[in-house]
Amino acid sequence: MTDEGPRWLFRYADDTATEVSELLGKPPPVRPVVPVRLTHLGQVTLRAIALVDSGSERVFAAPSMARQLRLDLSGAPEADIGLGGERRRVRFMYVGIQLFRDLLAGNDDPLTDWEADVAFLMDWEPPWAVVLGRDGFFDKFTVTMHGGVPALVLEPSGAFDERFGVEIAAAPNTQPRFRS
């Protein structure tokens, strides 16, 4: 990433759950979201408003998204993940993710796309169709968030090092930071 590289700002979306905000005398909550679509072997899902969740290690998708892609998950790697206070069964598939500009436009071309291991929930319908976590989203971009600004900015991965003027080495126990 250089100064000439892409830099995309995504406004947060407001949330209907206002009880806590009203209790504290604060504005309604806002959510960091981006529009994405999953792809696999020529199949595509509906465009979904995805939650950007820096606390999530994985990218998650609802069971319906797997059905929309006509995925056969019968032989896919599976695991239990703790979500919502419960153990949830997921199966992983390496699929495409397309990122779009506008939450509500619906007919624009993708800004970019990449592939990632997505954890498809098997028997629980989550409140978000897609959640974007560290492995598969945050390791693809430099993601800048500021609690006082209801927006996030995505830049290519290398922008992180350019911003701080030093290449911060990956820890030996993590995935490679820069993948082709």
Partner: protein, 68 residues
């Protein structure tokens, strides 16, 4: 230079269909169903491919953290 950023206003749309999976296009609700599967099937029947979907929280649903 200051550029003020406002959140995307979705809550007023979502409150119209609490608890439903919603298809949005050009700032309007084009369909809403009880499940994402039902919504996907309905949109396919109607030939709608340019909507964006999300779930509308139920009335009284608490503020969620991540996937809740």
């Amino acid at each position: 230079m200051t550029a003020q950023v406002q959140p995307v206003a979705l809550a007023h749309l979502l409150r119209q269909v609490p608890g439903k999976w919603v298809a949005l296009r050009n700032g309007e609700i084009v369909d809403a169903r009880d499940t994402l599967d039902e919504l996907a099937a309905s949109l396919e029947e109607q030939g709608i491919k340019d909507a964006t979907v999300m779930r509308s929280p139920k009335d009284g649903e608490p503020e969620l953290v991540g996937l809740g």
